[in-house]
Symmetry: C2
Subunit: 311 residues, 2 copies
């Protein structure tokens, strides 16, 4: 039987994926969407933002590999076909890049960069009050690979770091909160909120009027997870009222962020175009090839997603 | 005999120092400059930017304590009176704040922040090429407390970190270079240069046309040490030619930076008003009180400066 791998993402990126995968295993039978060949050939697929319903066309599909750390794109209706295993990428470069993004946003806010940029622009030599790092409470939502790495690196800088996750997690040196019961206490002790959650029905819209109100006045918000985590009008209202001092946002409800959206020109919003952490095919190709071998040989897959909860 | 402590800095700061020192040792006899009382009373002085020649007026002065990590202000001509011991502050908060400053400057450059700020201002959704952290070579000049801490924290983010110092030093996981012989090889492998050197006759003007030319084209310069380390016209010329891509500067030859100085409005210069790391009297008062007790009791002083080399 033919065991082909379907690759689907932007055309330019697909060519790079094919090259990197073949460099590791020249025997792979790779099909670049939409040139699938006979639908019966496809045994596995590595995709990003692929139309979910299309995956129901391949009767022998057994494994779905997300091209990123997030898998929410695979769970859009109708979701992955029943019986198909789903795996994510876990990659040191993805993690490193995400923690860099978070640390830049945290340090920029903590070190009063907006104030110092305005002083330079005005030609004014004036020292602002020194921030107190040990008194600055960072709260990280999501304690998977990304959240745990950011928490560890920020704690190493002497910030007071806590984490929140849906189910309880323990991290050395980090105070952790869990579940609905832990959410408001976690927010009440958080000066800088960092969202690195998976996007699931349980976390959709989790940054909203109610949760923002639970933060102390003057808190700062960083979202590098998914646009669906934030109720954008609620965040804008909290920025307007001054309850939230500012936000750094990499992801949005609609991407590209539409022309004229208020985030583009909001003086308290720093935004980037979903660029916090970008998958580098060369870095992740070995784990894709490894999971294909595991599938062929009937060994347990690595980095498996629980399809009942979507992460 | 009276053993008084002279305190000299800005008037508002002197009052804070007196309060914090007396909270730890109410028996201290503290004199705030210029209210010294009889010059014979003064046995020790804790100062910042005090006129060096004034210290020759106190015949019983035996200990000079810098109010910061740097001691160059004590070595301006005529330098400390002969036979007077000099000590610096070594403080976790000073070190933490300096590493924050350096990391913010490094990450801002590394993550193409100027490019992303310009894209947001123009309302353009466009991903820039992802930077390669493991290929980005950071070079730290000065491997004392401050340089070693910044090196360690940047290495923990997976940057390729090397250090240079006047005399050879070993740091776990960090490639080190030393002396005049090691300087050009160190610069040739450095994409982001961070200056955290002490200012001495041997390091004055060390960032100049010759050393900037030794950096690879497109290198970035961060100076958070002393203005005297940089030949400002040479740095401006390297920025103009494009050999140096940009600079983050906290310190300057003349402070406050004079009105009309080109750094104020240079599009490739980010500047702050000598605010990278500010001494917090409450945090450092214990080590001052401790050194005064050591002096009284004839025990060895802590954090002693070698007056023959000035650091």
């Amino acid at each position: 039987v033919t065991q082909a791998l379907l690759v689907s993402t932007k055309p330019a990126t697909m060519a790079v994926w094919r090259e990197e995968l073949l460099a590791l295993d020249p025997t792979l039978d790779i099909r670049l969407f939409p040139e699938t060949g006979p639908v019966e050939d496809i045994a596995a697929a590595v995709t990003w933002n692929h139309p979910p319903e299309d995956l129901y066309r391949y009767p022998n599909l057994r494994l779905l590999i997300s091209m990123g750390a997030g898998v929410d794109h695979l769970f859009r209706p109708p979701g992955p076909p029943p019986g198909v295993a789903v795996v994510r990428l876990v990659d040191r470069l993805l993690t490193t890049a995400m923690s860099e993004y978070v640390m830049l946003a945290v340090l920029r806010h903590h070190r009063q960069d907006a104030g110092y940029r305005a002083l330079q622009a005005a030609g004014v030599w004036e020292e602002l009050p020194a921030p107190d790092t040990e008194a600055t409470r960072i709260g990280i939502m999501g304690l998977g690979n990304l959240g745990a790495d950011a928490a560890r690196k920020l704690a190493a800088l002497d910030f007071r770091v806590a984490g929140w996750s849906r189910t309880a997690r323990a991290l050395p040196g980090i105070e952790t909160f869990a579940g609905e019961k832990g959410l408001l206490p976690f927010l009440a002790r958080t000066d800088i909120l960092v969202c690195l959650l998976p996007l699931t029905p349980a976390t959709e819209g989790i940054i909203n009027a109610r949760t923002l109100a639970a933060l102390p006045r003057g808190a700062y918000v960083i979202n590098a997870a998914r646009g669906g985590h934030v109720v954008e009008d609620d965040l804008l209202a909290a920025l307007e009222s001054g309850h939230v001092a500012g936000a750094t946002l990499d992801v949005f409800r609609t991407e590209p962020l539409p022309e004229g959206h208020r985030f583009w020109t909001h003086p308290k919003v720093i935004l980037t175009p979903h660029a916090a952490s970008i998958t580098i095919p060369r870095s992740v190709a070995p784990q894709v090839v490894d999971n294909l071998a595991r599938l062929r040989e009937g060994r347990p897959l690595a980095n498996v997603v629980d399809v009942t909860v979507g992460y």
